[in-house]
Subunit: 452 residues, 2 copies
C-alpha cells in the first residue's frame, strides 16, 4: 500500500485557535519590564503591537476565534494534507505508523503564513501602515512579505547579514512580494550602528536583527513590529496545524503515541504539539511530545531556564525561557530558522512541567534522514524540518527494535526548495557538526540579566 | 470576497487519461523514419521506450486507464486545487472570472511529475533498470529523478550546460533524489564529443542534450529514454489537469470561454487544453484556446509546420511540427522550459486545424504580470507559467475594455521558488527582450530536412 493522504474539507478547517494557556496547571511566569522588573502591561507593548495581538498574548481563553478574512486567506492552502508515510515505513522496515503534517503547501513554502496572515490582518484593522520584522533564513520574512502584499501593508525586513549574502533567493522572494530587505546590522538604526562601530565585519544574528526591527517600529507611529515565533500569540496562530492533524488522524482511526516537532523559536513545534498537550493536560488522552533542536543551538537541552532579553540590544521585555544568553551567536548551521538563542516561553514552561522531552541532533544526521525521506516520500524537507524527520525516524527505528507498533506524528513544517545549497554542501562533504564546550556555554550564560 | 479554492475529493481524481487523437477530425501526420522516410513502427521505438508507452503514442482510444500504482502516487498531491483569482480580478478591475489550476503543489513544484510517475511506472513494469533523459531549466529532470527514486530506477540526466552552471539548485534537487546529473554537451557520448570537437565552449541546448540521452539509452539494453514533453504519450499523461479543472469549474457552475496555457514543448498546455478541445471537437461545448509562447523562441508563431528532428544530432525520428529547425539555439531567456526548437505534433496539428490561437510574448511583460499575480494571489509563478499569467491577464483586461464578463481558465503549471535569480535579474533591470530578425528565422529554417 502506498503513502496515504488524509484531506479535510474546507468546512473542517478550525474556526478558532487553541490557547494552551487555558489548560496550564501552573500559569507561565509573567513578562517583565527590564527597567522596573515588574510585569509589563498592555500599554508597554502598544508601540509595537496592535491591541488585539497584545490581548491574545495574555489571554486565558481556551479558544480564540479566527477572523473570517484570515480564514478566507488560509483557505488558499488550508487545511493542509496529513500523510501516512507508508513508503518511509517500508524503507525503515518498521511496524510504526508514521504520519506527517505537511505545511510546505503554503505560498511561502512553510508554516509561517499561518501567523503572518493573522498578524497582518490585525495590524491592518488597527490602521497600521507598515510592518517591520527580522528574518534569519528567510522563511518568516517571506511569509510576512506575502501577507503584507495581500493586506496592502509595506513590509521592511532586517535580514541577518550572513543569510542576506548566502541566501539571495529568499531575499528575492521577499522583494518579489514587494518587501524592502535590509542586511543587518545596518546603518539604519542606532542598534545597528552601535554593533557596526564595535564590529564592522559583523555578519549579524537574529538577536541583532530583532533589535533593529523593534527600534524602527518603536519610533514610527504608523509602523508596528511583527515577530515570527517565540511569542504566545504567534504560537497560538500555529495551532491550526495540530487541530487539523487531530481530525485527520481521526479519519485514519488513529491517535499519536508520540508527536515530534523541531524547535528554533518554537512556533511550528507548538503548532503541532499544543492541541495534543492540551488533551493530555485536560486528562483526555496521554501522549509523548518530543522537541528536536540542533546541537549547535541547544537552548532547551543546554540553556538555562531564566529571564532574558529577546534581542541583543536589550530593547525587548524580559521573558522567562530556556536561553543561551541574548549575546550568544550560534554556529552557522544550515537550519537558519533554528538559530535563536532563546525558546518560546510557553514551550519552555511546558518543558519545565515535564510535558515535553527535548532532544538535540547534529545536522549531518538530520540531512541524512532528510534524504531518506525525500527518496521515499518524495518531498525534500527544509533543513529545519529535517530535525523533526530525524526525530520521527529514530522513534520508528525504536519501534522496530522493540517490535512495537506506535503511531508517530511529526510536523513537516516546510519544503527545502530554497535550501538546495545546504543539500549540495552536505553531499560534497562540506558540512561539519558542532558542539559547544561546557566552558563556551557557561560563558554565554554568564551574561544573563539578574532579574526574576 | 476572497480568492476561492475548488477542491476535489480523491475519488474525483480522473481514472483515465484523455486521448485527443480519438476526437481529431483529421489524424495527425505519422512519425517518419529518417532513413526510409516511411512511418515508424513500434519496433523502431522499442530500444527507447517500453511497449506500453509506444502503444499510447499511437493509440486512438479516447480514454486510457491510469494504473492504480500511478494513481496511488498522484494522490500525494492530486487532485490539485483550482482557484478563482478574486484578488487578481479586483486588482485588474475586470468583470472577467479568472480561474487558475495550480500544479505547483507537486513534490517537484510543477506539472511534470504527472508524466514522470507514469513513465517510471511503465518502465519499471517492463523490467528496465535505468532511465536517461535531458533537462533544460530542470523541472523535468527533477520530476523524473523524483519518480525514479520512488520506483527504484537509476536516473541519468543530461542538463544543458548553461543551466547546469546557472541553476545549480535544480541540479541539487535532482541529486537529492539520487539522480546523476551531467553537463551537456559531455564527453560521455559520441554526440557530445562531436559537438565539443567543433565548439569546445558550447553551452549546450535541449536538442544536443536529447541527442546524448537518446544515444546512451539506445546503447544500453537495460536503459530506456524518457522525454518530458512533445510526444503524444507525454501530453496524454498531463490531461488529468484539464479533466480535474472541468469538474472543478462545474463546482463553480462555470465553464471557460477561453483556456490559456504556456507552450514550450507543449505538455502543460495540452494538459489543461486538450479535454476542453475534445469537448469542442465532439460538438459539446465551444471554447477559445490560447497558447502563449516566448517571442525569443517562437516556434508556433514564426516556425514552419514541417517534418523535423527532435534533436541536434538527428538520432530521433522525424515528426511534423511547428519548428525553428533542430539546430536553432534560442536566446537564453529565463523561461528555460520554453526553449525548445519544436512544438508537440498534436499541438501543432490542432493549430493547423484552427483550434488553437498561438500568441508570442516578450519576457519582460511576463515578469511584470507574474509580480502582479504574486502580490495579489500570493503565489510566485515559474517564468514559464508567467507566460500563461500574462495571456490570461490580457484577456481579462480585454473583458474590462469591452465591459464583458468572460470565464478565463489558465494553467499555473509551476511555482517560481527555483527561479528567484530570474526575478532578481528582472528587478535589477538586467533582462532584455529579444526578437529574431526575418533573416535569422529564415536561416534557421533553411536547415530543415527535405522529407514529408
Amino acid at each position: 500500500m502506498d503513502t496515504v493522504k488524509y484531506l479535510l474539507n474546507e468546512d473542517q478547517m478550525p474556526a478558532a485557535w487553541y490557547n494552551v494557556q487555558a489548560d496550564l496547571p501552573v500559569p507561565a511566569p509573567p513578562v517583565l519590564h527590564p527597567g522596573t522588573g515588574r510585569p509589563v502591561g498592555p500599554d508597554d507593548l502598544a508601540p509595537l503591537f496592535p491591541m488585539a495581538l497584545i490581548l491574545q498574548e495574555v489571554s486565558q481563553e481556551r479558544w480564540i476565534g479566527i477572523p473570517e478574512p484570515v480564514r478566507d486567506i488560509y483557505r488558499q492552502w488550508r487545511p493542509t494534507p496529513l500523510y501516512r508515510a507508508r513508503r518511509l515505513e517500508k524503507a525503515l522496515d518498521t511496524p510504526a505508523r508514521i504520519y506527517y503534517k505537511y505545511e510546505g503547501v503554503s505560498p511561502a513554502g512553510s508554516h509561517k503564513p499561518n501567523t503572518a496572515v493573522a498578524q497582518a490582518y490585525y495590524n491592518k484593522e488597527a490602521g497600521v501602515k507598515r510592518l517591520c520584522t527580522e528574518t534569519g533564513a528567510g522563511q518568516w520574512g517571506s511569509s510576512l512579505a506575502f501577507a503584507g502584499a495581500l493586506f496592502g501593508l509595506d513590509v521592511k525586513v532586517f535580514m541577518v547579514k550572513v543569510s542576506f549574502r548566502q541566501k539571495p533567493y529568499r531575499r528575492g522572494l521577499m522583494e518579489a512580494y514587494g518587501a524592502q530587505v535590509i542586511a543587518s546590522p545596518s546603518h539604519e538604526t542606532e542598534a545597528g550602528r552601535r554593533i557596526l562601530a564595535q564590529h564592522p565585519d559583523s555578519t549579524g544574528s537574529l538577536g541583532i536583527a530583532i533589535s533593529e526591527a523593534v527600534e524602527v517600529a518603536a519610533q514610527d507611529p504608523e509602523c508596528n513590529y511583527a515577530l515570527g515565533s517565540v511569542l504566545n500569540h504567534v504560537l497560538l496562530h500555529q495551532t491550526v496545524i495540530g487541530q487539523e492533524a487531530m481530525v485527520q488522524l481521526g479519519m485514519a482511526d488513529d491517535y499519536p503515541d508520540v508527536v515530534v516537532g523541531c524547535t528554533g523559536g518554537g512556533s511550528n513545534f507548538a503548532g503541532i504539539a499544543f492541541p495534543f498537550i492540551g488533551a493530555k493536560l485536560r486528562g483526555e488522552r496521554d501522549v509523548r511530545i518530543v522537541a528536536v533542536e540542533p546541537r549547535a543551538c541547544p537552548s532547551l537541552t543546554r540553556g538555562k531556564y531564566a529571564y532574558d532579553f529577546g534581542d541583543t540590544a536589550h530593547l525587548t521585555p524580559l521573558t522567562k525561557m530556556h536561553t543561551l544568553g541574548s549575546t550568544f551567536v550560534p554556529e552557522g548551521i544550515h537550519a537558519g530558522g533554528l538559530r535563536y538563542h532563546g525558546m518560546a516561553p510557553l514551550v519552555s514552561h511546558l518543558v519545565e512541567l515535564g510535558h515535553i522531552e527535548p532532544r538535540a541532533e547534529h545536522q549531518l544526521g538530520c540531512f541524512e534522514a532528510a534524504l531518506t525521506f525525500a527518496r521515499t516520500e518524495g518531498i525534500l524537507p527544509a533543513p529545519e524540518a529535517s530535525h523533526a524527520v530525524k526525530g520521527a525516524m529514530d522513534e520508528a527505528v525504536r519501534c522496530r527494535e522493540e517490535g512495537t507498533s506506535r503511531a508517530i506524528l511529526f510536523n513537516l513544517c516546510g519544503h527545502g526548495h530554497f535550501d538546495l545549497q545546504a543539500y549540495m554542501d552536505y553531499a560534497a562533504g562540506q558540512l561539519r557538526d558542532h558542539e559547544y564546550s561546557e566552558e563556551e556555554v557557561a560563558m554565554a550564560l554568564a551574561g544573563l540579566p539578574s532579574v526574576g
